[in-house]
Subunit: 224 residues, 2 copies
Amino acid sequence: MNYQVLIVDDHPLFRAALKGALASACTDCEFLEADSVPSLFDALEHQQNIDLVLLDLNLPGAHGFCVLAHLRGSRPELPVMVVSATDDPRTVRHALALGAQGFLSKSADAATIGRDVGAVLRGEPVSATALGASLEPEADEAMLDLAQRLAQLTAQQFRVFGMLCLGRVNKNIAYELEITEATVKAHMTSILRKLGAANRTQAVLLAGRLVLDPQQIRPPPEED
Amino acid sequence: MNYQVLIVDDHPLFRAALKGALASACTDCEFLEADSVPSLFDALEHQQNIDLVLLDLNLPGAHGFCVLAHLRGSRPELPVMVVSATDDPRTVRHALALGAQGFLSKSADAATIGRDVGAVLRGEPVSATALGASLEPEADEAMLDLAQRLAQLTAQQFRVFGMLCLGRVNKNIAYELEITEATVKAHMTSILRKLGAANRTQAVLLAGRLVLDPQQIRPPPEED
DNA sequence: GCGAGCATTCGACTAAAGTCGTAGACGCGA
DNA sequence: TCGCGTCTACGACTTTAGTCGAATGCTCGC
């Protein structure tokens, strides 16, 4: 068997380190790389046989959970393992609540990383408690609801959404995606509908909940 | 001596409970109440002799830290104690980093609350470590910078900002504040300048940092 | 093949956001 | 009392955002 593993991280050095850590444990793996959310989606579109995504939560754009939520929702058959420098129980729990197949701490040693990735590739289920995550489902309900909405976005819409979460204006987004501003606006209308937001500001506020301290999540804003 | 203490919390029952807890410890205190950010500012404008503000972090609008940052920056001589249901070290540390004079856990007993409030009223300094907060200044630098920007806002501008962080549109804000939409826009222009944001979406993203998990705070977004 | 449904794209139009200049009210120091 | 600065407020104008309808292409099932 031959696995294709997509490594998503903005630091070239870390991508190399991750490949090195996995080289011994996954001799039958082929590694692809992506350094941003757009390149992640490009890879997923052009490469059909990807078996596992290793996703850095701290990608530029700072909405790593949004990316995870969208990936898991739009392509449930594609396993995603979260890689993060911060490995406190809350972060781990959120990642698993959003459907991540595993959690790799950047401070872990190569043997641990290789073992965990190998387990996921073989289809072995992850143990949440083994990762130090005490599940508190009620606190994650709002997140899951939001994740389901995010999953409704198409790939192109999610690219637009990502740049929206960076505070870009439509003209800028259009330039980056090499489409017309009119097209961006059309996507934006659809995004707002799917997320249940009245305007882009509310959409950003909704996205902010996915990176919030869960204990600070408030009931949904009254729409008027 | 006679102290005036302003209790800011949206739950009438809790305000009453807080008054009850303080009644024995602060027999010479007069209590004022506010149930929202606007009423907080109204009280501060019309009452000149307030000696202490007890501020609930979870006020409607969910940007309790923004309120604290603005209060401490715009009126440094006015002591503020933070009241919060969540009392994890990170929350405590943020509150103290933003200049709070103390931290009251909602799960604390009346004797403790009375003792701590009395100490602050007598001008005794708070001990950060006693509150279980290990100070990590480097992680709070971004917050302090943001707090300084927030403090530049005038009272009316901060009211507008608060409603902006709720996702309201200018027309709605104008109606709530009983001013013209043109005036709201003028305030908005000034707010964006002071916060260093290009539009309201970026302003909301900046505000979001004050409620973020500090470990997820990223370098400032590249302005283009 | 062929129509249904969806993603993507865009132009035209309306609504909202943001800028600029201006004016009155207020406090504060010369 | 007279500036001087600041907060607040507003109208006119430009820019940006968002909606609607429509065209293209693509996949999937019949």
